[in-house]
Amino acid sequence: MRGHGFLLANYVPGTSLVHRTPLGLKFLLVLACGMGSFLVADWAAAAAGLAVLCGVFLLSGAGVRRLFRAVRPILPVLAVIGLFQWWQLGGPVAARIVLNVLVCVVAAAILTATTQVQSLLDGVASLARPFRRLGADPERFALTIAIMLRSIPFIAGAYADVRDSARARGLDRNPRALVLPVFITTVAFARQTGDALAARGLGEAEDPDP
């Protein structure tokens, strides 16, 4: 199974200013970029925001190649969306939408490239702590994020493997030959992951045990 493809940049060890920035600020950056994508109406402003974020990413020392790897998986989708929006609403709107999505992806890549997963999980658990009064388990929130981060590359890898198998059998134009195996593999993966977590006692509610 291929597991290398990753929508977000993996952690890159370093001591840059971006690495040392408190996790809360980086969370806020991602949040602000997400909100901004709804509010920014000018493609030039979106382009400027993207340029700044790319600069911040490079400042972390993660490199141009990792930056490209972080955005590459969504480029085909953005191309389709961009062309459709251009046809429907014109060039400036299409550019704004595409650039705003890239802003969000690069902001998320900055967070994941400069923050260790365990620190991210600690941050998520801290954010979820106020919900404890409502019966929520912060560790489960954190675990959910961890599983999500793990599942994205797995499913992408499963798709690549199934596509290669379908090609080898001359079935690459048959959607059933692609979709069904990926679906079955994903369900099996979910079950395996559930077993692996259960075996390690992860994801269980916190309570005093004997």
Partner: protein, 252 residues
């Protein structure tokens, strides 16, 4: 440490079949030896037997107790005492790197992030894996992955280690590495394997065939029995009772 199976059986409902399918016939055992193995053909029920010991599979009838804790009623207490290593470490490793996966194991027990990191590094260092701690698990060899999975399980200091065919995906060099590593552990170990050399190192071997434990005894006699079973036609082995090392036969 002791594990007691009291007429524990596993049956599952299968669509289109009026009767549930039996994965494991009722079995009564007390497992106290430090090194115990389970051998048998693919699909014979080895994994089902091992999964019952950690509470991953609940017995349909009977009971399984680990140090007095029932694997259904006290499943959390059982899982804290019984670590489980899967055949494929990629099924088990949840995080992108070894260090992060070991830290994940420790999240429940060690709240302080710095302390957690130190303990994770110590767990990896024990197997000489510290240099690979930040490498993607996909970039590790099969043996290294299996050792990372083992380190992640041992980091929480279980009393008993259950391993489901841990050497099946490994080459000879990595099998030897795993064998040496397991030999040096303090925990009680219960493992299933197709590696008969590894099986011969153990103190007690159970032979499982078609959902039944058909032999329970010393490793040499058990391996001989297993070889005999493999040479026999499948119809000859069904309905066999438990055979002990002394040659007596009894129904489980």
């Amino acid at each position: 440490m002791s594990i007691v199976l009291d007429r524990a059986a596993v049956r599952v409902a299968v669509d289109g079949r009026p009767e549930p399918k039996t994965l494991l016939e009722p079995v009564s055992l007390t497992l106290t030896e430090r090194r115990i193995g389970v051998i048998g053909a693919n699909g014979s029920g080895k994994s089902t037997l091992l999964r019952m010991l950690n509470g991953l599979v609940a017995p349909s009838s009977g009971a399984v107790a680990v140090s007095g804790f029932d694997t259904v009623r006290d499943v959390r207490a059982v899982r804290r005492r019984v670590g489980f290593v899967f055949t494929d470490p990629l099924s088990q490793l949840v995080m992108p790197t070894g260090r992060e996966d070991v830290e994940l194991s420790l999240r429940r027990s060690v709240r302080n992030a710095r302390e957690r990191r130190a303990q994770a590094e110590a767990a990896l260092d024990r197997f000489g894996l510290l240099a690979l701690a930040d490498q993607s698990i996909y970039e590790l060899s099969g043996g290294e992955r299996q050792l990372v999975a083992l380190a992640a399980v041992l980091a929480v200091k279980p009393d008993i280690l259950v391993l489901d065919e841990p050497s099946t995906l490994l080459d000879l060099r990595n099998r030897e590495l795993l064998r040496r590593t397991l030999a040096g552990l303090d925990q009680q170990i219960i493992l299933s394997t197709h590696d008969l050399d590894l099986a011969l190192d153990l103190e007690r071997l159970l032979v499982v065939e078609a959902g039944k434990i058909v032999f329970d005894g010393g490793p040499a006699a058990a391996v001989d029995h297993y070889r005999m079973l493999c040479a026999a036609a499948p119809a000859d082995v069904r309905g066999a009772g438990v055979r002990g090392a002394d040659g007596d036969t009894a129904q489980p």
